[in-house]
Subunit: 313 residues, 2 copies
């Protein structure tokens, strides 16, 4: 069993409109809703790969119920979300029907998320500790909702380590900085998160710095430049065979799912990285985070190029 | 007991953002949610005036549950909404924090509403017929959701007339045209609806035309020009003593509530019109449809000027 933690779950809503004009009234022509938040995207990809996944984090209000209704209908996903009095945030993507692949088309409106009380944060920690004995790996994903202490991930990493459960951390900013210091097994920053954390724009140097700060392994997702992994077992670069065009939303979440999947299948690092890279590229070719195009994934998997990176002096 | 019908109920959501920029990502700084749809606004105003009101129409999905949760918490309002498999529509008003009263500030995104099946429309008619014997007046308000026949209001008017219950109709377009032909007791168009229905931009002529088409009385809400009433008992103009600045959303719904309230209190037409005009103006001075500023209402009530209009040749 894999456990993914999404403290700031979301209901991701997509509105199609003809054209977005500020200060005008718009008729929305189509509405789609999906569970959102990085850990839920990771869980849906893992479930589609055939893994059993438990999801935890917070849920509240009508948006939380909508998220849970859809999760319950997803085979392989077990709902262990903790109810809170506030409401799960909604994110609204307003997409123009006239958009082409050459024009920007999406305007995003993101609610802040529910205010978590100290009692709710404490209840979550009890649920989390109760789940750890039955899981083989845990992924801590995404931003923190208001009220959760900034050191939350550091605390959850130490709890998992004490229970002997490996941890993957995928977040940003101060929660990432503090989390890295708590010695997670893997962190998966993107280029911007890597630079924010280390001050360096040079991925090779920045990934080494993140290991020095406490992470056992670092897998940086560098968009079209693929993945750069720096681990105790070696350093690798994994690059998709062709550049895939499309929507990069969720590509990093699919990469995290590939790493987790490869870990529980006990693959060596190069094969884990190939799986993560192919899943990530197969997600770019779909319009929705948390989903991937299976034929693209299967076609790319054997063609991802994984090369050993020279160790810097 | 007053009955209001809102076939296309809504959850009205207001987002505050710093500034709305197409194709950018926005952090929403505050979220408010209220029951919406014209008949629910009318009901909330009636309840605040001390009347007992039953609301019916359709409700579905998480947005429907949120609407019902708030209605249940409103003293004086009884929920007789009919559940449907689709989801109650959301409307999103994106308001800029930097807006002043001199600049436009609101961008509106309106979902289309649930698809109503023939079985659901039939179930609603059963509920409606069951409610009629216990009500003194019924208000039919707002647009029709997809799937409801365009002659729906005409049918509901004939059913109410057969049960001896007076009807107020407040809608637009073809549902208004067909509804008027079914001989409602009062229709309450605004200036744009009046013109769309009759082709005339001249309210005095247009209101006479609406009576010829079947309405027993017509009360046109003309914004700052107040109300123009054409009834079998006479013709009146009601004008607020001062021009109230603010948000006109919901002003027409409050006017309808004032007419219904005056009717059940058996007031003569001039006093009904004064109540409707004062409520309407007291709604413009609040930011939210379905609410009014009570001190403003009480201050204006005795100062509304109601004058007899000359009958045209």
């Amino acid at each position: 069993m894999i456990l993914t933690v999404t403290l700031n779950t979301a209901l991701d809503i997509t509105y199609r409109v003809r054209e977005l004009c500020p200060y005008a009234s718009h008729r929305v022509t189509s509405v789609t809703e999906r569970p959102g938040g990085k850990g839920l995207n990771v869980a849906r990809v893992l479930a589609a790969l055939g893994h059993e996944v438990t999801v935890t984090g917070f849920t509240g209000g009508p948006a939380g119920r909508a998220v849970q209704d859809q999760l319950t209908a997803t085979p392989g996903v077990l709902d262990a979300l903790v109810p809170v009095s506030g409401s799960t945030r909604r994110t609204i993507a307003v997409v123009e029907e006239t958009a082409t692949s050459l024009t920007p088309d999406t305007t995003q409106l993101n609610e802040p998320g529910p205010q978590i009380t100290p009692a709710e944060w404490s209840a979550f920690q009890g649920v989390y500790e109760g789940l750890l004995p039955s899981v083989s790996v845990v992924a801590l994903c995404g931003s923190l909702p208001p009220g959760v202490p900034v050191g939350a991930y550091a605390h959850l990493i130490r709890t998992a380590r004490a229970a002997g459960v490996p941890v993957l951390l995928d977040t940003s900013g101060e929660p990432l900085r503090r989390g890295v210091a708590a010695r997670p097994d893997v962190v998966k920053p993107n280029a911007a998160e890597l630079t924010e954390l280390t001050g360096s724009h040079e991925p090779s140097q920045a990934t080494r710095d993140v290991r020095r700060r406490g992470a056992r392994a670092v897998v940086a997702s560098l968009g079209p430049d693929g993945l750069l992994a720096v681990t105790p077992e070696g350093r690798w670069r994994a690059i998709p065979p062709t550049r895939v065009r499309g929507n990069p939303t969720g590509a990093g979440d699919s990469a995290a799912a590939g790493l987790l999947s490869g870990f529980v299948d006990q693959l060596p690092w190069p094969e884990r990285l190939a799986r993560a890279t192919a899943l990530s590229a197969a997600t770019v070719s779909t319009p929705v985070a948390g989903e991937f195009d299976r034929p693209t994934y299967e076609k790319l998997l054997s063609r991802v190029r994984v090369t050993t990176e020279a160790t810097a002096a």
